[in-house]
């Protein structure tokens, strides 16, 4: 079965995608309303926490990060799939990515925006985020440039701004299409300004190709460095359960894993809501599912490596943390994480489920639940059972304020993402045209060679 029909007319591609900007299914508005309500919950929690003090979050001297930093890592991880689909697969000439990479890139941008909020929220006094900026204080003392926390701030800023630019540059030809084919109004004014006068000249395309390729080449090591640096926040400390060499690749694999699972979820939603059945096809979904399965197995392997290196190591405190995870108060969540992360993806191994939308939707949500639990199980158990017994606090449970904020972050992400998909084309029109064109050319060539071969056979 073909990834996409080669007979789709180019004008139809424009019409179908532009229609998505004006006329989505009703479910779009339902999702938007739910997202706004969820953001309302988070905003209420933040205002309450800000006015009352950090005590309402139930964080204490032992549990200084709580759900906030666990969720921060989750959202940073989620952002990696956009880079995987748009940059890595672009360099590998995997053209099946073309109908879906735009929304994956948008996912990257909005995940990073969501993650950034948690850094501010977990400080309590949100303005203190100023200490993470490379700016000297009144006594000309600069922040500690040797701290992974500062590296984090810089890496995320670099990744966020580069991702926004990558998303924008890749969208310029499509913005020109919107400018040319939409009726006058605020949208046309917006697209006219953002398309920068793009006309698809040979000079523009030539420079566009090189620029896009160059930024893609930069984004791949950048994405890897971002999550390696986040892993360094943990691995470079001396805490039991964190001081592990395999943490950076483990984090990167986890990031790609949760990102791919989120792509499956959003693929299914966008396909239905914006009527993209012709572009977000089942063969493409199958490819993402297989990619997710492969990454799930890599993650499982690295997860087992982590357990083994702790178990067979000589750090008793780290071993105690691992035992605590498996048998203590966090045990249900730890086992759930292992189940969702390593057992549930085995469903993706079976061919008949690789295109079964209800099953895939449920599986992708479970995978992401597993990935969120993974981050929580990295942060909380180590804090609760550190090197010093007088710091142990096994009974701490995040307050409703923390849970509310985590809950609301999903609404915030959904809100940004859905608004983006309604304002900007979430399927790249010019790249789908390229895909259709190159595939039809290849088929024609094949037919000619086939005919020639047949003719050759007859002649001999």
């Amino acid at each position: 079965m073909k990834d996409i029909s080669e007979d789709i007319a180019w004008a139809k591609i424009n019409t179908d995608v532009l229609k998505s900007l004006e006329n989505p299914r009703k479910l779009y508005w339902v999702i938007l309303l739910i997202a706004i309500a969820m953001v309302g919950v988070a905003a209420g929690c933040e205002v309450y926490q800000y006015n009352t003090g950090m005590g309402v979050s139930n964080k204490n001297n032992t549990h200084v990060w709580g759900l906030y930093i666990a969720t921060f890592i989750f959202w940073i991880g989620m952002s990696h799939s956009g880079t995987l689909l748009s940059a890595i697969l672009h360099l590998m000439h995997a053209d099946w990515r073309k109908p879906i990479y735009r929304f994956a890139e948008a996912m990257t941008t909005f995940s990073l925006m969501t993650a950034g909020l948690f850094v501010a929220v977990h400080l309590g006094r949100v303005w203190q985020i100023y200490y993470a900026l490379p700016y000297p204080n009144g006594r000309q003392v600069w922040p500690n440039f040797q701290s992974p926390l500062l590296w984090d701030a810089m890496a995320i800023f670099t990744y966020l701004s580069s991702s926004i630019l990558f998303l924008y540059v890749g969208m310029i030809p499509d913005l020109a299409i919107c400018r040319d084919h939409l009726h006058p109004g605020w949208r046309k004014t917006l697209y006219t300004a953002l398309s920068l006068g793009w006309e698809g000249t040979d000079r523009q395309w030539r420079n566009f190709r090189v620029t896009y390729l160059t930024i893609a080449c930069f984004l791949i090591p950048l994405a890897v460095s971002v999550h390696s640096i986040v892993a360094s926040d943990f691995a470079m400390s001396q805490q039991p359960g964190w001081h592990i060499t395999s943490f950076p690749p483990y984090f990167v694999a986890g990031a790609l894993y949760s990102g791919c699972a989120a792509i499956i979820t959003l693929f299914i939603i966008l396909r239905y809501v914006f009527k993209f059945e012709e572009y977000m096809t089942l063969p493409i979904l199958k490819k993402i599912v297989r990619l997710t399965f492969a990454i799930a197995m890599v993650w499982t392997y690295l997860n087992l490596i982590e357990y083994a290196s702790v178990w067979y190591g000589h750090d008793q405190a780290s071993k105690d943390v691992l035992i605590q995870k498996a048998t203590g108060v966090y045990a249900p969540f730890w086992w759930m994480m292992n189940f969702c992360g390593s057992i549930v993806p085995l469903i993706l191994f079976f061919k008949r489920f690789q295109t079964h939308i209800p099953v895939l939707f449920a599986v992708s949500l479970l995978l992401n639940m597993g990935m969120w639990l993974e981050r929580w199980m990295i942060v909380a158990p180590t804090f609760s059972h550190g090197y010093y017994p007088w710091t142990w606090d096994h009974d701490q449970w995040p307050s409703l304020v923390q849970w509310g904020m985590v809950f609301g972050s999903f609404g915030w992400f959904t809100l940004l993402f859905m608004v983006f998909c309604k304002v900007f084309p979430s399927v790249s029109m010019y790249e789908v045209k390229e895909m259709v064109y190159h595939r039809s050319q290849a088929t024609k060539k094949l037919e000619v060679t086939g005919n020639l071969a047949a003719a050759g056979k007859g002649a001999h």
Partner: protein, 176 residues
């Protein structure tokens, strides 16, 4: 002599390519195919570059400059701030430690590379641009456009070439 702009639209790349080849091979007074011809297409099409001939792209030089500037700027900013500690006790540790400084240098190397690549792209692609004298929305849909600029005397020859190669539409506008 006043220049005239002509835009011819074609339904596919083969016809456009044939026109470009013919325009490059014939000698028309008041028209230079290398300077006065622009091909507009709805997709990035490598064959367009092939039949137009090699034209240099300079974006990568911006990238190199931006990446090096970013990296060096970061390293010297960090080292400069750490040099503040000369008067303070560092416990025998280096005042400017290279391994941790490398991380931010690397991040700024990428940041500089990306930002300046975009700047280079805008400069090299001539963006933001005002509308060309002739433009058709069909070019962003499914047709290939060839925009030429020539002396008035040459416009009839150009038109006949376009018609010969089955141009779907020819737009004409007097230039400056």
């Amino acid at each position: 002599m006043s220049k005239r702009h002509l835009l011819a639209l074609f339904s596919n790349f083969d016809e456009a390519e044939a026109v470009v080849r013919e325009l490059r091979s014939v000698r028309i007074k008041g028209f230079d195919a290398d300077k006065d011809m622009i091909v507009k297409s709805p997709i990035e099409h490598p064959e367009v570059e092939e039949f137009l001939g090699d034209k240099p792209v300079y974006v990568q030089w911006f990238t190199l400059g931006g990446a090096l500037t970013g990296g060096l700027l970061a390293f010297f900013l960090i080292s400069g701030s750490q040099a503040n500690f000369f008067s303070q006790v560092k416990g025998g540790k280096p005042i400017v430690p290279f391994p941790p400084n490398f991380v931010l240098t690397y991040e700024m190397f990428i940041l500089g590379g990306v930002y300046i690549s975009i700047l280079g792209f805008l400069i090299c692609a001539g963006l933001p641009a005002s509308r060309s004298p002739l433009y058709s929305a069909k070019v962003s849909e499914d047709q290939v456009g060839i925009l030429v600029q020539a002396d008035e005397a040459a416009s009839s020859t150009l038109k006949s070439i376009f018609i010969k190669h089955q141009a779907l539409e020819i737009q004409e506008e007097a230039g400056k």
